[in-house]
Symmetry: C2
Subunit: 226 residues, 2 copies
C-alpha cells in the first residue's frame, strides 16, 4: 500500500446505483461495505459483487453497522427513504463524511425540486459534526453497473467543507467519471434539478443515456490547491 484509502460504506447499497458505485470502487481497490436495512440482503449482494470482480474486499452489513465501519459513507436510497435512513444512523455518522446522492425528481412527472438541496436537508438533520457532500445525483444507474461502459456524464460535487469536497472528487474519479468541485451544499439543488432536464431530453430525443459534461475547465486532477 502506497497510500491509505478510506473504507467506503454504501447505504442502500443493494440498489442499482449503490451496486454500480460499489462495484467500481471495489474494482479500483477500495474496501467497500454494502449497507442495507436487511443485513442478510447486504451479505448476499456483497458476495455477488465479490464473485463478479474476483475479489473478497466487499462486505455486507446492516446500515448502522456499515455506517460505523465506513470512513466515508455514501447514501443511495430512494428520496422518500433519505431522511428516515439518516435518522437511523445519525450517531454513527458523527465525525465522518456523508455523500448524499439523493435527487428528488419523479421520473413520471419530472420537475425541479423546490426548497432546499437534499444534501442541505441531510446536513440540517445530522448536525455540524458530519460533513455532508452532494454528488452522483445524475449518474445513470444502469450504465454504472456495466463496468465496461464508459460513463459520459460528469459528477458535480458540492459541499461547504472544501476538504470533504476534494475527497469526493477523488472517489468520483475512481469510478471512471470526471468530477468537478461545483461550490457549496446549496448548489446541489441545481444538480438534483438537472435530473428533470435530462429526463425531459431523453424523452424528447428518444435516448436513455443523456448526461451533462463540463466544458472549458481543466479537469480537477490537473489543478493543485484552491
Amino acid at each position: 500500500m502506497t497510500e491509505t484509502r478510506p473504507t467506503l460504506a454504501v447505504l442502500g447499497g443493494t440498489g442499482k446505483e449503490g451496486t454500480g458505485l460499489g462495484l467500481r470502487w471495489a474494482r479500483a481497490g477500495y474496501s467497500v461495505i454494502i449497507g442495507s436495512r436487511s443485513a442478510e440482503r447486504a451479505v448476499e449482494a456483497a458476495a455477488a459483487m465479490n464473485a463478479q470482480l474476483g475479489l473478497n474486499t466487499v462486505r455486507g452489513l446492516g446500515n448502522a453497522e456499515a455506517a460505523t465501519a465506513g470512513d466515508i459513507v455514501v447514501l443511495t436510497v430512494p428520496p422518500e427513504a433519505q431522511l428516515p435512513t439518516l435518522e437511523g444512523v445519525r450517531a454513527e455518522l458523527q465525525g465522518k463524511v456523508l455523500v448524499d446522492a439523493t435527487a428528488r425528481v419523479d421520473a413520471r412527472n419530472p420537475k425541479p425540486p423546490e426548497g432546499q438541496a437534499s444534501a442541505r436537508l441531510a446536513q440540517d438533520l445530522l448536525g455540524p459534526g458530519v460533513r455532508v457532500v452532494g454528488a452522483f445525483q445524475n449518474v445513470p444507474a444502469h450504465a454504472l453497473k456495466q463496468l465496461d461502459h464508459e460513463l459520459a456524464s460528469d459528477v458535480l460535487v458540492t459541499a461547504d467543507d472544501a476538504e470533504a469536497r476534494a475527497a469526493v472528487v477523488v472517489l468520483a474519479e475512481a469510478t471512471g467519471m470526471r468530477a468537478y468541485e461545483a461550490g457549496g451544499l446549496d448548489n446541489g439543488l441545481v444538480v438534483e434539478g438537472l435530473t428533470a432536464l435530462i429526463i425531459a431530453m431523453n424523452k424528447r430525443y428518444k435516448s436513455k443515456t443523456g448526461g451533462i459534461r463540463i466544458s472549458g475547465i481543466s479537469q480537477a486532477k490537473e489543478v493543485i490547491g484552491n
Copy 2:
C-alpha cells in the same frame, strides 16, 4: 430566399450578450433589430454591428418599436430590468414568441435562484397570448461577441409550447451553438441555477470559459418530430 426567416428583435441589445447574439444572427442571415431604452444608442449599436459585419441588415429602435417590428423577441437585460422592461412592451408582444435569457444569479454571491423560473415570471406577467421560451441564460457573453470563437457551451431551451421551443432551438443553432429542447418553462429554474455552479467552477479552477454540454443524446437537428 429559400425560406422565410423570422425578424429578430433583441431588447437590451446594446449589452454584451444581446450584441453577441445579434451579431451572430445577422451573420447567419437574419434581419436583426437592436432594441434599447434609448433609440439613439440602439441606432449607434446597430451601425457598429453593420460595420463590423459588412452588412446593412441590423437596425436600432427603442424597445417598444423593436418589439413591434420583431417576429421573435429576445430579452437580454440585467435581472432587475427583466419585469419592468416586459411591462413596457406587454401589448407589443401579444401573439409573439418571447425568448427570456434572464438568469437571476449574482456573480459576487452566486447561489441557485429561489421560487419560479424567470421565464415563468415573464409568462405570468405577459399572459397566455405570448409564448415564452427560456434560453441563453448560461452563454458566456464575452465569447459570444468573439465571432471567430467556437462556443463550447450548449443551449438548453425550455418552454411549454413545443413549436416555440423548436423554433428557438433553430435560432440557437444559428449562433453556432448546439441546442436541446429541455422540457417545460419551469425547468428554466435549473438552467438559471447552473450559472451559479459555472461561476463556482470557474473560480475553483481559475477559468473564465466554463460551460455545460449535453452528452449521450443525438443533436436536435437529427431528430424529426416529437
